[in-house]
């Protein structure tokens, strides 16, 4: 993975528009976030290998970046994206890493299922 090049990433994203694709979407602040004296909460949510179809998609912002995909009657959204990668088998991976190199958010799209 490397720093997101917004215009190029936005271009790559367009090839997933208008067809059924697999989505992984995740956000987490780490399992240990609840174990601190200031009363933090560990928070995480993910959804993996859900099939979606969107009619518009773009990467926006000045970095960290945001992604938004418009579906029939719904939306997919991710904020805080810093890095990206296009895998050899054509998956488009985006993630947001914090200053310590820890993953905070992840958005991935693929034309074939992700491994489980």
């Amino acid at each position: 993975m490397g720093p997101i090049q917004r215009v190029l990433a936005d271009e790559k994203l367009q090839s997933f528009v208008g067809q059924e694709v697999y989505l992984h979407l995740e956000t987490t602040n780490g399992a240990y976030a609840g174990n601190n004296p200031s009363g933090g909460m560990a928070v995480c949510a993910y959804i993996r290998n859900v099939k979606v179809k969107f009619s518009r998609a773009s990467i926006t912002g000045l970095g960290p970046y945001r992604a938004g995909m418009k579906m029939d009657g719904g939306w997919i959204y991710a904020e805080g994206l810093t890095d990206w990668e296009e895998t050899p088998d054509g998956k488009l991976l985006f993630a947001g890493y914090d200053n310590e190199g820890r993953l905070a958010v992840s958005l991935e799209i693929s034309k074939t299922p992700f491994r489980v």
Partner: protein
């Protein structure tokens, strides 16, 4: 000003940033149209203690919006039906066209909207951009003046002194009543403010400023960049 159009994305944007200004125009007899982009569906504040859920929040906020607008003296609200956090992903020209249609009908002399790229929230940037694009699409002699509301910390450094500074002491009660009308969004903040035990000096200063004056920059629609990002 006899006809003022306000274009902002979230219920409460009209109150926190420019409620005093709107109340003043209303008091002077202006007609005010508010195009409110979304219902703030993705908001995090739900009252303190919380009384809304992710699913009831839009209805709660729609009611709060109507109450706050009645307090401020806004006669016409138009809910645009966009969704919170998604405005920047819509087609800006399509949005601008909708806003332009309303401008042709309402003929505002003044537009109040967010300053693109100085809005902090992407919805602010995107709807401000669309509203100014709508102005740019009008013939020059039909364009309203634009009061752009900037929020980012660097706004004074990069934009310079505001072009318009409005003292709101004479309508402060109205603004506070409108803030309270947005109960789901303001309850925690107003508790903090009235308890007077706030340790955060910067926060207190921001609150004091919000209750004292509202500032805007004039935006020349011809200077609007080709794309937002």
């Amino acid at each position: 000003m006899e006809r003022v159009m306000v274009v902002l994305p979230h219920p409460d944007d009209e109150t926190f940033g420019c409620g005093g200004t709107i109340a003043k125009f209303a008091k002077e007899g202006a007609q005010i149209l508010y195009m409110c982009g979304t219902l703030g569906e993705m908001g995090r504040n739900m009252g303190k203690p919380f009384f809304a859920t992710r699913e009831t929040l839009p209805d709660v906020r729609a009611r709060e919006l109507e109450e706050a607008c009645a307090v401020l003296g806004i006669q016409e609200i138009q809910k645009m039906g966009l969704r919170d956090k998604t405005v920047e992903f819509e087609d800006a020209h399509e949005l601008a066209n909708r806003i332009r249609q309303e401008m042709i009908r309402f003929k505002p002399q003044l537009l109040i909207t967010h300053y693109p790229k100085y809005g902090v929230h992407p919805d602010h940037d995107a709807l401000g951009y669309a509203a100014i694009l709508a102005v740019k699409m009008l013939p020059k002699d039909e364009r309203p003046l634009i009061y752009a509301h900037a929020i980012t910390h660097n706004r004074m450094q990069t934009l310079g002194k505001p072009d318009v500074e409005i003292e709101i002491a004479d309508v402060l009660e109205t603004k506070v009543a409108a803030i309270r009308a947005h109960r789901s969004q303001s309850e925690a903040m107003m508790k903090r403010w009235s308890e007077n035990t706030e340790p955060d000096e910067a926060w207190k200063k921001r609150m004091d400023q919000m209750m004292k004056k509202e500032v805007f920059w004039l935006y020349d629609a011809d200077r609007l960049p080709e794309t937002l990002w």
